[in-house]
């Protein structure tokens, strides 16, 4: 049941929302292509939910425009917008059974024969047998699926999901991530998913936009953002990063050379946001190799020496924390391919390929 009129891009143009002095959404311009699974990722208070509520019509923008396809829906009443929401706490109608909850939108639009579409939708979310139950008689995961069905049945131009999995336990959340992805692929509707869970965003979305303080820090495919974060905030919020601040000391071919605390690091120019001055050098913990101090290190590798402060064995991998010479704690994820585990107190060298390094602007307040 592909959404017939669903092939519409959602466009936010210079969208601003201020609550008094507080600017929740700061001049946001964004195009979400039709049919994509788009995640707005950010910490609480970053403006992601406010953005979603403006698209839903539950919040009026201070300025800016919202376009769905060619039509400007900025000032359209929520009940007239062809946009539906899966609410954070589901907001299922407690006095109606599952069937009537799902049929609600169709009935409001004056559609008489609701049984067919409702049953098909309940089939899609695998809740057919529970049609006559009340929401309170369902588990959290089932309620979640009712909420999705209730919104999707209207074949909206865009389906908004506000932290839809937040109330579920970890195992169920993983299950529902796969489930939601499957549903999205099946119906082809544009999903805009708001979440603070970076793993959730990366698992499900084709495109992730990382938001901070009302602005988008970086946007792209999960793997793209993960492998090459463009701001320190993204480097730390989406996964974890080891970073050190230094200054550019020169160039060598296609690389720039950065010195920090007496060590020098090479970064490919195209992996750095700047070529001179103060710079933040970063690398993901799983890109690091760790070895006892004095071990042979491949040529041209970047390296940092340190002393292990913590080693936790998790089965598939061991997570090390090592104190660097300048007093930062670096993190290393090492696959357990050998039984040699380094112990706290061991002097080590951590090294990695320059191609895994990224260079970032120093954040203003740091």
């Amino acid at each position: 049941m592909a959404a017939t009129d669903g092939v519409q891009d959602l466009q936010l143009v210079n969208l601003v929302k201020a609550f008094g002095d507080f600017v929740a959404v700061d001049d946001l311009t964004l195009t979400i292509p039709a049919g994509s699974f788009f995640a707005l990722l950010g910490p609480s208070g970053c403006g992601k939910t406010t953005t979603l509520r403006m698209v839903a019509g539950l919040e009026d923008p201070t300025s800016g425009q919202i376009l769905l396809g060619a039509s400007d829906i900025t000032n359209e009443k929520p009940y007239k917008r062809h946009v539906n929401t899966v609410f954070q706490s589901y907001a299922l109608f407690p006095h109606l059974d599952i069937f009537e909850n799902v049929a609600f939108g169709l009935r409001r639009r004056g559609i008489k024969d609701v049984a067919g579409p409702v049953n098909a939708m309940l089939e899609l979310v695998e809740l057919g047998p529970l049609a006559r139950r009340k929401p309170a008689q369902l588990s959290g995961g089932q309620q979640q699926r009712v909420a999705v069905a209730r919104a999707l049945i209207n074949q909206p131009g865009v389906l908004l999901l506000d932290e839809p999995l937040g109330a579920l336990d970890l195992k169920l959340r993983r299950q529902m991530q796969i489930e939601l992805k499957r549903i999205q692929t099946e119906v082809g509707t544009t999903f805009v998913h708001v979440t603070h869970d970076q793993e959730e965003a990366m698992t499900m979305a084709d495109t992730v936009a990382v938001m901070n303080k009302g602005r988008i820090e970086q946007m792209g495919a999960p793997i793209e953002i993960y492998e090459l974060p463009r701001t320190v905030f993204v480097a730390n919020f989406l996964g974890q990063s080891n970073i050190v601040t230094g200054s550019v000391s020169g160039r060598s071919g296609e690389d720039i050379v950065v010195s920090a605390y007496g060590a020098s690091f090479t970064i490919p120019i195209n992996r750095s946001t700047r070529q001179d001055g103060e710079i933040v050098v970063g690398v993901r913990p799983e890109k690091l190799s760790i070895a006892p101090a004095g071990s042979a290190v491949p040529d041209r590798s970047n390296r940092v020496t340190g002393k292990i402060t913590d080693a936790s064995f998790t089965g598939v991998s061991t997570q090390y924390l090592a104190m660097t010479a300048w007093g930062d704690e670096w993190m290393v994820f090492e696959q357990n391919r050998s039984a040699d585990i380094l112990r706290p107190g061991d002097e080590v060298v951590m090294h990695w390929a320059p191609a895994h390094t990224f260079g970032l602007d120093v954040p203003p307040e740091a």
């Binding site: 907001a91 006095h95 209207n154």
Partner: protein, 300 residues
């Protein structure tokens, strides 16, 4: 509700977890004793006594009656007072509807919009209880007096067919509405306050206009409060006699007045008791039908 723990004596208001209650069911019953004793002494015994009084026969001496099985007392009461019954229920029914119309928007405002003023507004709702019922009703005599501001104003506009409000059925209904309004507001507030405001957003998101959203979501979810509020207003208003005495003309008397006069003036205890029982029976029947219709058992 589906997930009720198997407590014994659940109406005692004591919360004991299922397991504990099963181990010591006796405690729950013991806790019921004071309440049950109170009910037995001050409700059941007088009720039975009233019932026997309603069947007593006259002895010839004024105010003295003998035990009998005089069912005709009921027929006499109905024959003589049925217009009063009809009038009573019209007055109390109108007052209940008026109270609902006034209370619902107010309770809605307090529950959803009042913000930091919520507590203050709730105190104001119950504030009239700080003054005596009788005193407040007397105050209405002044407010609605013939030479008073309201009556003069409405007369100037020629809006009053009888030229006055006091000593008319309007005054009685207004008094009943006013006096029982808090009993309507509070249960309505309690029901509305429990409704998640996000349900309203969800209804709007699902193509319901604000009015449809109210009709399909808020109203059905507030029905338990509507039922409780209307009953708490209708039942005492039906038996009230103060408002009719102080604000109405002699022709506006309600069943409560008839019972009072029979007890205290005519000292016709059997007729007064019969009237009380008839009133009680009618109210019970009305309530039973009403609750059945409203289908509250399905809503909680």
């Amino acid at each position: 509700m589906p997930a009720l723990a198997p407590t014994s004596g659940g109406s005692s208001g004591v919360v004991i977890s299922g397991a504990a209650a099963q181990r010591r069911p006796r405690t729950a019953y013991l806790l019921l004793i004071p309440g049950l004793a109170w009910l037995a002494i001050f409700f059941v015994v007088p009720l039975i006594s009233l019932f026997f009084t309603s069947l007593q026969a006259p002895t010839g001496k004024s105010g003295v009656y003998q035990p009998a099985f005089e069912v005709s007392n009921y027929l006499v009461a109905i024959q003589e007072y049925w217009p009063t019954f009809v009038k009573s229920f019209i007055y109390s029914g109108t007052a209940t509807v008026l109270a609902l119309i006034i209370a619902y928007p107010l309770a809605y405002f307090i529950a959803f919009r009042a913000g930091k003023w919520r507590a203050l507004l709730l105190v104001l709702v119950v504030a009239p209880f700080f003054a005596s019922f009788l005193l407040r009703t007397y105050a209405w005599r002044t407010i609605l007096a013939d030479e008073g501001f309201i009556t003069s104003f409405l007369n100037a506009l020629h809006l009053l067919p009888q030229g006055r409000i006091l000593n008319t059925p309007i005054a009685v209904v207004l008094g009943l509405t006013y006096n029982f309004l808090p009993f309507m507001i509070l249960p309505l507030y309690a029901a509305l306050e429990r409704i998640d405001p996000r349900l309203v957003e969800a209804a709007g998101d699902l193509y319901a206009s604000p009015f449809t959203g109210f009709r399909k979501v808020i109203w059905p979810l507030s029905l338990p409060g509507v039922v409780a509020g209307t009953l708490l207003t209708f039942i005492p208003a039906s038996g009230d006699y103060i408002n009719a005495t102080l604000l109405g003309a002699p022709s506006d008397r309600m069943v409560g007045n008839a019972i009072q006069t029979n007890f205290l003036q005519f000292r016709d205890y059997p007729i007064a008791s019969a009237l009380s029982f008839i009133l009680m029976a009618i109210i019970l029947a009305v309530v039973f039908v009403y609750i059945r219709r409203a289908g509250t058992e399905d809503l909680v």
